[in-house]
């Protein structure tokens, strides 16, 4: 009996220990495993790495490799707030990438969230655990809130300063170098994050013209593409008076605002000087300025224009309460005449859906201008920015961090870029007569160029850092670039790609402490101001609303933010734009 009890106790202790080990296995267990593996597998991994190094030019440039070995298991964490994930049963890229890197396992842990706000909340939650739940290697967003969290974590010693690692991996450094000034922590000059995905002027065609308008409706009402806001107004009037939907019901001439608050108020200001409460510019005195406060006359003109559209039924009564799903429903049914957004969000999908019942239906993008402020339309300027960032937890075994950087380095090579971006030669892609990469027929038939369907196979998912030179060199025009509506759009714009960088330093200044405190709730209040003004009964009401807005912003400490921003702009280095 006593023996049985003792055995029972021993078994319980053993089970509990295993359970605890299992529970903590997420990070620490892996780390411990990583350490052991690092020690045990260094030879194996190094051997493999040597093999890889023949194809991976970057790895040969890494002097740290002798110092820091590698591990055979790597886990990378990322977020997803709306698109498709790779299907493990179909994924061809990850196994191939793992093989080429000589890893035993490469885990890509994707955390699915409802929205981007949830991503930031998740980071805050991880941070609030003191960093114990923070993943080893994570790709985050790159907005101001996220940067603050990352820099806070870094200053508290929870995140690794990546500066020395960039020195060890010069190819990675070269790829992100231009953006480093924007992700360096201003307090201590350290790099607690490096860009993961970022913009490139030659690789990203203009995706958001001022507005998308129904070309077939313009033809029906015998009007050409509008160029000015007044011509646009006339087109909307014609849509309202002359166009009915397939059921004979009135159409929505112009879908403005809605859940995402899309509008063209910025057209009524000098280019690059307005974007609600989010855009600051450098004024003639060299000081920071925000146009909703400093240019009330332009804001009044913009709101009066929208007020006219609202009162004449050219935008919807529900403009300020419509969810994006409701707008999508109307757009897909062919009830909307003009709208804002990127081609891939609405214009192209709506066109494709409408064409099922009306082959002539299509949205085409145009650039408008306000003659009161400009002589002609201007192209969107290009902002050099990171869209997402890598952050590495502090205190990891250096072999593990080294393996992570080796992975980035390989993906950055031409071979890695082609694998992660296009898949495997002969299966997913082949070269056309010009030597450019195109989808194989079978692969195109399977996916129809749909990004999400391609993602099931892991295509374009594991592009941990883009190599734009390799992409531009190898890639034939994508499916969307061959579309009639897109070709027409870029023809209207006069260019497929942006031609100028935003060079105003204020556009690169992140909000400081004073601004963060002063602007609490301001974007929300600005939206309320716009909603009130657009639905106002009289022009005097609009003027008063704008004047009161300016006064309230100044009373909240606008001048202090101007000082803070003007000072901060002095340290913005835009040499990388040259």
């Amino acid at each position: 009996m006593r023996i049985q009890r003792k055995v029972g106790i021993l078994l319980s202790v053993a089970t509990l220990s295993l359970g605890v080990a299992g529970c903590s296995g997420g990070d620490n267990g892996n780390n411990a495993g990583g350490n052991n593996t690092a020690a045990n597998d260094t030879a194996t991994t190094n051997n493999t790495a040597t093999t890889n190094d023949t194809t991976n030019n970057a790895a040969t440039n890494a002097p740290a490799e002798e110092e820091a070995g590698t591990v055979s298991d790597l886990k990378i964490t990322a977020f997803n707030w709306g698109w498709d994930n790779p299907d493990p049963a179909k994924d061809i890229v990850l196994p191939e990438l793992t093989k080429r890197l000589g890893l035993n396992s490469l885990t890509y842990d994707v955390i699915k969230t409802g929205s981007y706000d949830d991503v930031v909340q998740k980071l805050q939650l991880w941070a609030s655990t003191g960093g114990s739940d923070w993943p080893d290697f994570v790709a985050t967003g790159a907005d101001g809130k996220t940067k603050l969290i990352l820099n806070n974590m870094g200053e508290s010693g929870k995140l690794e300063d990546l500066t020395p690692w960039l020195e060890k991996y010069p190819n990675v450094k070269k790829a992100v170098e231009k953006l480093l000034p924007f992700s360096t922590n201003p307090h201590d000059g350290k790099l607690y994050s490096i860009p993961q995905n970022f913009s490139n002027m030659q690789a990203y065609a203009i995706d958001q013209p001022t507005i998308w308008i129904r070309k077939d409706w313009l033809d029906k009402v015998n009007l050409g593409y509008p160029k000015t806001v007044d011509e646009f107004y006339n087109a909307l009037k014609a849509f309202k008076d002359q166009i009915k939907d397939v059921n004979g019901q009135p159409v929505v001439p112009y879908s403005a605002f809605g859940e995402n608050f899309r509008n063209m108020i910025n057209l009524f200001f000098p280019p690059g000087q307005n974007g609600g409460t989010g855009v600051w510019y450098t004024d003639a005195d060299g000081k920071a300025a925000r146009s909703d406060v400093t240019q009330p006359e332009n804001l009044i003109r913009a709101l009066t224009f929208y007020n006219k559209l609202y009162n004449e039924g050219l935008i919807e009564k529900e403009s300020f309460s419509l969810k994006q799903g409701q707008i999508d429903e109307k757009g897909n049914q062919g009830r909307i005449g003009a709208l804002h957004g990127a081609y891939w969000e609405m214009a192209n999908p709506y066109t494709d859906n409408m064409k099922k019942t009306d082959p002539n239906a299509q949205f085409v993008g145009i650039q408008l201008y306000d003659p009161a402020i400009a002589q002609g339309p201007s192209l969107p300027q290009f902002r050099l920015e990171a869209w997402s960032l890598w952050a590495v937890k502090a205190g990891l075994p250096k072999e593990e961090v080294n393996t992570f950087f080796k992975t980035l380095d390989y993906v950055l090579s031409e071979e890695g870029t082609i694998l992660t971006k296009y898949g495997i030669e002969g299966q997913q892609w082949e070269r056309n007569a010009d030597g450019k990469i195109v989808d194989t027929k079978a692969f195109f038939d399977e996916t129809q160029g749909d990004w999400n369907k391609r993602a099931h196979l892991g295509i374009d998912v594991y592009s941990f850092i883009p190599n734009y030179e390799a992409l531009i060199k190898n890639q034939a025009p994508s499916g969307y670039e061959m579309r009639e509506d897109m070709i027409e759009t870029w023809k209207n714009l006069g260019s497929k790609f942006p031609t100028e960088y935003i060079s105003d330093p204020q556009r690169y200044v992140d909000p400081g402490d004073v601004e963060n405190k002063m602007t609490v709730g301001q974007s929300e209040r600005y939206k309320q101001l716009v909603a009130k003004a657009v639905t106002a009964k009289t022009p005097e009401e609009i003027t008063k609303l704008v004047e009161d807005w300016g006064k309230s912003i100044r009373a909240l400490g606008y001048d202090k933010v101007v000082e803070e921003r003007t000072e901060a702009a002095k340290s913005v280095n835009l040499d990388s734009l040259k």
Partner: protein
Amino acid sequence: MTTLAGSQAKSKRQQLAGKILHKIWDQRWLYVFTIPGIIFFLLFSYYPMFGIIMAFQDYNPVKGYSGSEFVGFDNFNTIFQLPDFNNALRNTLIISGLKLIIGFPATILFALFINEIHHTIFKRVVQTISYLPYFISWVIAAGLWYKMLSPDGGLINEMLTKVGFLNEPYYFMGSTTAFVPIVLFTELWKNIGFNAIIYLAALSSIDPHLYEVSSIDGASRVRQIWHIALPGIRGTMVLLFILSASGLMSAGFDQLWTMGNLQVQEVGQILDTLILSYLRNSGGFMGLSLGATMGVFQATVGLILFLVCNFVAKLFKQESLI
């Protein structure tokens, strides 16, 4: 003498303690049943109270409670100076006040009506229909009402224009005049059935002989309600009123968050929605401290209201919660 008195007192104390222990032992299973509830409140109500400290700090989760800077009442100052704070406070009091003034008697009336229905099947059908909306989340309910009240093909606008009551569709949800009545109506629609359950339970506990006797004495149904039913549920009414009044600072976050929109914020922005809409886009971790501050402010006012109502109820009706 003193020794004798002392030993008698000691013996009495021992007897009393024995009685208490005996009683506890007799009711041991009742005490066991309270354990999950006690654990629940300890874990989810008392333990998180420690977080109140955030309201007095510039809280940074990376630094933790001990490392974050203590700022005294600065956060309270910040939220009181938010440009829309006064408006949101006013809206909160108006909406929750109206909900109390209209919803409280309406629920009692509804329970009395249900209680007066003697046709069993009809009574159950009415009860079931009235309970159903309670089980729909506000997200769904708000979507339904938005759709029905939409000027673009909404059922109610279609009906009102068809019968000639309106010349053209009216955007009810965007009207500052119509919004608060819609909030009150939908609140009643959603909760009246479920809230009436407590009153129906109280009504069912009234001795039926009282109704029989009053009927023999010639009392009408209205007289019976006035003199028997209402006094019979007075305790329940006082209890629920005190609880409702203490919640006056919360006008219904779920409802106002899902039904509100930019056009009606002037009348529909309440303290809860104000703090979330303002702080969800604020930089850094500032939202954590200010959110906690708003919570402390609302809870403090709620506690004061609770104590005042309880005191008044005790003063006039000798009915109270504590």
